[in-house]
Symmetry: C3
């Protein structure tokens, strides 16, 4: 079970309740009143625990799991050990997420005002919505507006920005500082005043130590429901659409615009002034130096269709092999 020093568990819940919460369907013959005590990973779950199987890489672990209850796709039922109660779901990971949220719900008592922890600094001209929490060491600058139900993590700093509702800013995040804007000049680079803001829409997560520079005139915008991982760099005037997933250590250069539901793999870099269409998927470590069509799946540097990049790798490996064998 989760370490009680850090987490508070609720429950137990019947599998009827679990199914109701997750839209899963219990296998025929299951006892709907069986009690589930906790959630746990496949490898450590016990007979009182609910687990899940989604990534088929772990399919062989299913048969050896001691879990009493498991969310999984119906097609994998045959791989489960005898006696395990199976809850079928087309999206077991999502179902597990919803179940786990129930067992380990955040405190639901909404505060009528914001809570500013000791050691946090909020400028007198900033505004914070209800039930928003500012953790120790965080700094909220002049004029900043933060919506309701937000968390501003330890040591994060916000300036020149407007933040929506249900936004989670992780520790050490930097939002709203000057973009990297200057006219290069041998006599001394000439700073271009950065006159825009950062606009963060609702339901956004911004990972630890990520940096989002404010716009140079236009705004930098993060669309609703977008999740950004740790140590990401977002340049000035960048616009991210809704529901994007930006993995750790990605860099997006100034004035580039992403559509909705774009996925960018870890350590990928996107040059400035580009358009990335909705639904595009960019492999980890890719280098993007041209526009990407909506729905395209690309990789490599310069990026190309992912299949072509894989073929290129195969061709190169063969050339190395042939050289070894003296051809």
């Amino acid at each position: 079970m989760a370490d009680p020093r850090f987490f508070t568990r609720r429950g137990p819940f019947t599998i009827a309740k679990i199914c109701e919460l997750t839209a899963a369907v219990a296998a025929p013959g299951s006892d709907a009143t069986s009690l589930v005590t906790d959630v746990a990973p496949l490898g450590t779950a016990t007979s009182d625990d609910l687990t899940f199987l989604d990534n088929t890489k772990y399919l062989s672990d299913l048969g050896e799991s001691g879990a009493g209850f498991c969310l999984l796709r119906e097609e994998h039922a045959g791989r489960a050990p005898v006696g395990m109660t199976l809850l079928f779901s087309a999206n077991p990971y999502k179902a597990y997420a919803l179940a786990a949220q129930t067992f380990y719900a955040a405190d639901e008592s909404a505060a009528p005002s914001a809570y500013v922890a000791p050691g946090a600094f909020v400028d007198a001209t900033a505004r914070l919505g209800e039930n928003t929490r500012v953790d120790a060491g965080a700094v909220i600058g002049p004029g900043v507006v933060v919506g309701s139900n937000c968390v501003i993590g330890n040591g994060a700093s916000l300036s020149h920005c407007l933040i929506g509702d249900n936004v989670r800013i992780y520790p050490g995040v930097r939002i709203g500082q000057d973009g990297f804007g200057f006219a290069p000049d041998p006599a001394g680079h000439v700073k271009v005043p950065q006159l825009g803001r950062v606009i963060i829409e609702n339901n956004v997560e911004v990972g630890a130590n990520t940096c989002i520079d404010r716009g140079s005139g236009p705004d930098t915008v993060i669309g609703s429901g977008t999740w950004i991982d740790n140590l990401v760099q977002i340049g000035h005037n960048v616009v991210l659409g809704k529901g994007c997933i930006i993995v750790a250590q990605v860099g997006i250069s100034g004035s580039t615009k992403l559509g909705d539901f774009v996925v960018v793999g870890g350590q990928a870099g996107i040059a400035g002034h580009l358009i990335i269409g909705s639904g595009a998927q960019i492999a980890a470590k890719s280098g993007i130096i041209g526009n990407i069509e909506a729905g395209a799946v690309v990789g490599g540097y310069p990026a190309q269709p992912l299949r072509d990049w894989h073929k290129q790798s195969v061709i190169l490996a063969r050339m190395v092999k042939e050289r070894k064998s003296g051809k």
Copy 2:
């Protein structure tokens, strides 16, 4: 216009004044007494605003801009809409920067002493120059010297360093911590005391969450007028010359030395103990594992002349294509 919650505008200014400040020349027939109210990007500027055209990628937007005034190169005059007042400059972006600095000047009242915000921590043995500001959450360690007219951003930490004048340290920057110095050993890596400092010369910018380790014996040095973007890693004993431009997420390994005006594109990495000549330009995401000649323009990993790297990409793409077509 810029959000008045965050920015204070001055003006209006006549185009005669703008030309004086920026060394631009108004097109023949312009009325030198016309008043400019604000600066704004090409896409949103109105008839009272000054905009600019520099990147020719946006040339087609010029004809549709509603801007009343535009800084641009004379060769692009024919693309401007009728009625727009044109101010010719060989370097429109620099001219715009100077104009924007005038409209949105920082408060010029120099303070006779440093200002330490509530929630900042300055060691009693540190020294701060006049008109230097230390923002909330920043920490200035023992013995540190900071010059005049500097800004030390929220949550930044400085130790074992000497900082010049007119230096801007962005939020979350880490300067002066131990370099990654140890003798690897199966019985436990043996730490090498890091006995140098970080020396930052005048007019330097250090972007958010960037890390600059102190020297191991020699110093780590950042030359005057160098601009460093966010999330950059500078190892111990690195020396950067004057006027360098280091884009976000670059990593420079220990003891490497860059000349003056070197440009390093985003996410590039430079191995340790190398010499990078003055004026070298390193493409984004490059991997540098050997010395680079002054003035060289390189890309790829291992880096090569940029043209060769482009050719290599073309060759690889053709091989993939030929394989597809069964050749």
Copy 3:
């Protein structure tokens, strides 16, 4: 000598004492009572200083060094200038590290309790071991346990974690925040509660602004004696073995496990759910998308044996050259 504003020197010490501390052997004819005043790099050491030669790249500098004393491998003795006292060691860098630790020892007076600097925030339910120091701006969250002889640097934040003894957390480090765990969903990504912890064993260093996410159910674990550089990303459920070396800006994705003494070069990325065997060495900027055998030396993206990657570079360079010459 090291800047006395930042460092306190001890000594002098006789070369007999230096040899005793470092297991070095003085060259025949050396006067064991000679006094060494300080340590210094090859290029700046004077006649009273001890220096070292390890990286043969600097062998040509040895002859011109003004150092009075030098730790080096015996095979390089002939390259030393006349009059320099030579101390032979099979591992000169380690020997120098030990000598330098003696000249610049940390204050050895162990405190019977932890020291929490002004401006640090320690939750009432957290526990700190003796002689542990929490620097200004650091935040220690509820339930966190930190062992003895640790340093928690400026502005670092720790939550949901258990930290061993002799651990150094550098400024701006983020430990224990939620991992990047959610079920992607067009209606809004569904957060998976992150119910694990971060376990950091003894004698670990975690570099500035590095992020270590807590486990999603299992724990994230950093093995004893592992050194992590700056700006590294460690995803949830990652397990690092003992004595690993993780260079700056590396990213390790969720649920990947490294054995002992794995070395990962700067800016390399490792995908999720992989196994990296003990002793593997991964070149800088590599992209790892499959398991790596113990002891393997790999590079490139996708990673391959390092020699093959070098051959590939040679082949590509030749193709570019042939294309130039019209073949």
